[in-house]
């Protein structure tokens, strides 16, 4: 487990919710830029992601982390108005048509945001046109499609075909409990992931090569 030198990042990684909020208040009062505070929080979240990957943290810790981050951002929101947040890039994500499962997708969204991406979350039961429109508008180089129900995988194939027609070389990553190499191949995706930290690693790869 890595030791984080920044107190706020470390409090985030340890999921100490009260301490996170107190440190944010202290730093805002001391005149620290809100964007710098966000960076500390992201550093802490990245550590949470690595701890999940090494098996030290479980989904219960990721859910708690999401709540701590949400509370922290609510505190910061009024101070962020007018600040220009810098992102590592845009990612479009959603649960495919016919499926309303979003527990896994929401955790992926949280970790991607934590890693510094601008995530455009289209929600659940998302039709192909909505994916296409969001990719066109954001010019995102990566799209994530979540599916739990195997019966909805066929619809995902059509969605991916529609996305390919845009022609701007978006990389398609699919995720879900019953997703594997067979499914990836069938629906024509570029990558598949069965847990949230894999998704973050794939994003890392896509954005460093693009």
């Amino acid at each position: 487990m890595a030791k984080l030198s920044d107190q706020l990042a470390s409090a985030m990684a340890e999921l100490e919710d009260d301490r996170v909020l107190n440190l944010i208040k202290e730093r805002l009062q001391a005149g620290t830029s809100p964007l710098e505070i966000v960076r500390s929080l992201q550093e802490g979240m990245t550590e949470v992601g690595s701890r999940f990957e090494t098996g030290e943290y479980f989904l219960s810790e990721l859910v708690l982390c999401g709540q701590v981050m949400k509370d922290a951002m609510a505190e910061l929101e009024p101070h962020l108005a007018g600040e220009n947040q810098e992102y590592r890039g845009n990612i479009v994500i959603g649960t495919v048509r016919g499926d309303v499962h979003d527990l896994g997708k929401n955790i992926v969204v949280m970790l991607l945001k934590g890693a510094g991406y601008n995530v455009i979350d289209l929600g659940v039961d998302v039709p192909a046109e909505k994916f296409v429109q969001a990719i066109k508008e954001s010019n995102a180089p990566m799209v994530g499609m979540s599916v739990l129900l195997t019966g909805c995988q066929d619809g995902m194939k059509n969605t991916i075909e529609a996305v390919r027609e845009i022609g701007n070389k978006v990389t398609v990553v699919i995720g879900g409990n019953y997703v594997d190499e067979t499914v990836r191949n069938y629906v024509g995706a570029d990558y598949f992931a069965t847990n949230a930290s894999e998704a973050v690693k794939i994003a890392e790869k896509i954005f460093t090569t693009k």
Partner: protein, 390 residues
Amino acid sequence: MSDKEKIYQENLNRYVTAMNVGKPDRVPIRLQLSEFMAKHAGFTLQEIYYDMNKNFAAASKVLTDFEMDVLFCPPSVWWATPHDAVGAKYYKFSGWELEENRQFQYVEEEYMLAEDYDKFIADPTKWILNVYLPRLHSEFAEPGSYRANIALIKGAAATVMFNGANQQAGAMWAKEFGVPLGIGGFGKAPFDTLGDTLRGLHGIMMDLHKRPDKVLAALDVLIGHNIFFALATAGGDTTLPTFMPLHRGSYPFLNRKQWDNFYWPSLKAVIEALWAQGKRTLFYAEGNWTPYLESIAELPEKSIVFHVDQTDMAKAKEIMGGKFCLSGNVPNTLMAYGKPEEVKEYVKRLLDQYARDGGFIMDLAGVAQTDLKAENVEALIEATRQYGVY
């Protein structure tokens, strides 16, 4: 004894022998084909959710076309009509909330709030009637009102109609096809009742950190409820196992300490109490349960059938073999995207490696959906008949 009655007895004996970790004449086939049955019989999903006769007819068509020893259960375990009649908010059904051929869906939310714990723990039935039902069903919105009273009558009448129709269908399949049902009644882990149905994933995960004592107290009151529910839905049957689909205990939802303290003790108590009354549990372990196999193996011998979805099959066999019957493991993606020869090869290997000494039931890893291919179901059955003879 008619031919069908004789076949019924043979099928049932084969199934029960396997569940008792014995060696029947051959490996029994019990496939959780679910919504695939509707597609195969030419019905829409809306039809099988809303029309019980079509739901049963779909199973009859599958029993006509495929030779199975046991019918897991009819394609739909729900009858959507009463859900609509009482204005239930937690399910979406095909035909109006979803397209006619979409799988039904559960809408997960925090239907029980953190501040409800004390009242729930003090008197769960009272809380369900006064708070939970009104919150989740538009027809119960005002408890004690004319509409709410009628809704209670509608719900009770529908439950009786549904259970009666299912029993009749079971008797019909026994008589006409000589095939017994695979399950008798439904059960849940107390943590899943609290974590899926009542508090939702976000709620329960926050509770583990914020109010662990209340979680434990609530699990405690759910133990008795869940034992009763499993026995009541089985109508007194102790030949067939209670179907217990298990969710939040799979890896990696909970850390080890949480699993040991919150998930396992109450589930173990339910399974042991059922077994003390002769009722076995189909431990339908959805997802991956590999890290917990040794704890599960502490259960009394034969008290469960351990169903393998994404659990490591070799470890399951090593730790549980000889103690509990195993079922499942044929990947749903193979059944949907693979070729019949690939399915046969997989089944042959599965039987060779894990079924040689008995205590094995052939099944898919997870609940099937409409993406399954009929020729792969045929291949799975053929290969089991060929290689699964003792």
